[in-house]
Symmetry: C2
């Protein structure tokens, strides 16, 4: 005891490895950037994945009324079951059920945002030392969560020239015995891509052949532009077990409310009781979503008018088109037109901008000179691109594109034939 005591004679409190290993690449990149806007131009942030910040995309009044009604009942103040009220789970099951992928209340878990849905899904499927397949470029939370849990991530390539379809061969080459799950994000952040039925079937057939469960991040489900169709992964496969993660954040434009869910699709009993029980147990750690939002869910899902969804989508489409057509005429940039979600990726032909080392420097200087901030895609492990969020008001988008043009024109250097040859 004397020895023990001596070892505790001074304060020596260290943060745990898990907290140190909870790495948020967006934070670490953005915090490392020198973001000093040009004082002559008001700042335009095209970087924020929050559709509510500019006030131009309010949620529907019905959605707000549903919350106030839930409060007035006085029925939703107590603890709900850790997986959510039975009634709310039922409502969600009905909302997302389809003949190809039927759902019952028992197949639904309510969570604190889609982030917790993803956290629970990864945590239940993977052990430390396992690996998961995630898209590149992709939403950074997958890696943040996996790495902190000691799970290895393997990035499969998306192909910008094929509207960000998955390089299925590359994906398949990454699978081994310790691959515990394949994450598919459709529609995609940061790409705004929406996969065709055929492409999804190709992905599913790999998962089926290699017996790999899918975590389908479908938080942007149904947020697709007219002419395009969203297919849920689960609706296209009868054998591959799918944990579909979603939430109110994007489609209903209330990300702060922290309402998410997991839909368990397991028609062949591959997950069996074990995964269901595992999810229930994990849900008991901190319990799930705010009960007022749970109580409002029935009305939110069933009473929100179709026009609300349509209005959001037309806006996102029209803004995407403005942005795309502006940027595609700027030498040195290669924007990729999205089909849904709220993002647009833009390639930078770095060899034409020799002053800048990479997308981080490029976007940093875009702030310094033009007060326009776009997220460098290094944050998505995809250098030499940047992501534009298309939820900003149209006028702002137009001004921002003009400033990006000015910036590029100033720094663009045509590659001479010689220098191109010298490179090889």
């Amino acid at each position: 005891p004397a020895k023990q005591k001596s070892c505790r004679q001074r304060w020596n409190i260290r943060a745990s490895k898990m907290s140190i290993n909870t790495l948020n690449p967006i934070r670490s990149i953005v915090d490392g950037m020198k973001l000093t806007p040009n004082p002559e131009k008001p700042m335009i942030a095209l970087s924020i994945g929050d559709p509510t910040v500019f006030g131009n995309l309010p949620t529907d009044d019905k959605v707000l009324q549903a919350m106030k009604d839930a409060i007035d009942t006085h029925e939703y103040n107590g603890y709900a079951p850790s997986v959510g009220y039975q009634k709310s789970r039922e409502v969600l099951a009905n909302f997302y059920s389809c003949p190809e992928a039927p759902l019952k209340a028992e197949d639904v878990l309510l969570t604190s945002g889609c982030s917790q849905a993803i956290d629970l899904a990864i945590t239940v499927l993977c052990n430390p030392g396992d690996n998961i397949l995630i898209p590149c470029p992709g939403f950074s939370l997958y890696k943040t969560l996996a790495v902190s849990l000691g799970i290895q991530v393997r990035l499969y390539k998306l192909l910008p020239e094929k509207s960000w379809e998955i390089d299925v061969q590359h994906l398949e080459s990454l699978i081994d015995n310790r691959t515990a799950c394949l994450i598919v994000n459709n529609p995609s952040n940061p790409c705004g891509s929406v996969y065709s039925k055929e492409h999804l079937q190709d992905i599913l057939s790999v998962a089926s052949k290699r017996c790999l469960p899918i975590l389908a991040d479908e938080i942007y489900g149904d947020m697709v532009f007219p002419g395009c169709q969203f297919h849920s992964m689960a609706s296209l496969s009868a054998d591959v077990p799918v944990l579909a993660c979603g939430g109110l954040a994007k489609r209903w434009l209330v990300p702060g409310w922290r309402m998410g869910w997991i839909l368990i699709h397991d028609r062949n009993q591959c997950f069996g009781k074990e995964i269901r029980q595992g999810l229930v147990k994990l849900s008991q750690r901190i319990l799930g979503a705010c009960t007022i939002v749970q109580g409002a869910l029935e009305s939110i899902l069933n009473d929100t008018p179709q026009e609300f969804y349509q209005r959001t989508i037309s806006f996102l489409k029209s803004n995407s088109e403005i942005c795309f057509s502006e940027l595609s005429t700027i030498p040195g940039l290669t924007p990729v037109m999205p089909s849904g979600a709220m993002y647009l990726m833009v390639g930078i032909e770095m060899e034409n901008f020799p002053e800048f080392e990479d997308d981080v420097q490029f976007t940093e200087h875009l702030v310094t000179e033009q007060s326009v901030f776009c997220l460098p895609a290094t944050a998505f492990e995809y250098p030499n691109y940047f992501r534009i969020v298309v939820t900003v008001p149209e006028e702002m988008m137009v001004v921002a594109c003009g400033r990006i043009r000015e910036f590029c024109q100033r720094h663009y250097r045509p590659r001479s034939q010689e220098s191109a040859e010298l490179d090889h």
Copy 2:
């Protein structure tokens, strides 16, 4: 690849170790019990730690109005920072700041319920292989979270004969080099105990001597009966770093809303930047509390009338007194009068109830015969006690106590001198 492939030719999805190791003792005990009430008597559940279930303890109208006002501003639909709105953190800092333990907004993190506060606090302070000290009997979540994270728990004894004070000597004997944190729950679930200033100082002096940070679970803070005073741990020590966890759940009677917090007390810079940054990083995993509740927080804390708090406390006290005075005249039972929170522990002199093996069987039969359900304290690692929740309506409490009396009278067997001697 042929070999690899063959290994993935059939579905074999197992739940992760972490999900399997997320053990909820209350669930596993209650689910294992045969709870068939007596059809002649309506069921009375004295087991549910949710003060809202009987409708007799509604939250204050101001609290509900604050929520509706927050909704009407349309300002609280977007993402808040992962640690909560600056304004809401400021409001909490002001509410809980005192000269002995001053707080600034930066010292406050908002979480999804006190459960997430505890989860973040344990996770930031402990690595797998470390150990933490937790009360016995104690709230089961501490062990659930710790074990799932690979952290060992060491139970320190509470002394029923000293109103559940901590056996400080025993506590100190459990400390070693891998002890990462001491959890103190005051006022206590399941004991209803409230510690005196002197006792808290004794605990703090051990923590100070052995350089041990404290996780103070003060979710029942200020819920103490008249004549008794609540002292926060942090207010009594200038050197021991404290993460104080709390929330709206109990005092404001809205557990479903999932609003909790961590107050960081670190006047001597023992946590330093590292623990603060670790907490921020962990908060980014799933983000925190619902923004509507965050937006309502200022009004909830500042406008709820004092009479509301007082009304709740007088009710809890009077119900505790009814229950205590009824049960203390029942041979074979030894209730311990609480001083706060919403619980009362009752000892069972098992030798006087030879028909039953333990508290689980005792409480199981109490359901079968009398339709009264009390939680066996085996769920708190404390056999031969049961816990009564004192939030039920007074009439119910009276009826329940009458039935417990009938049950005990029926099964009580006085210990003869002989049988007592035979035991030795």
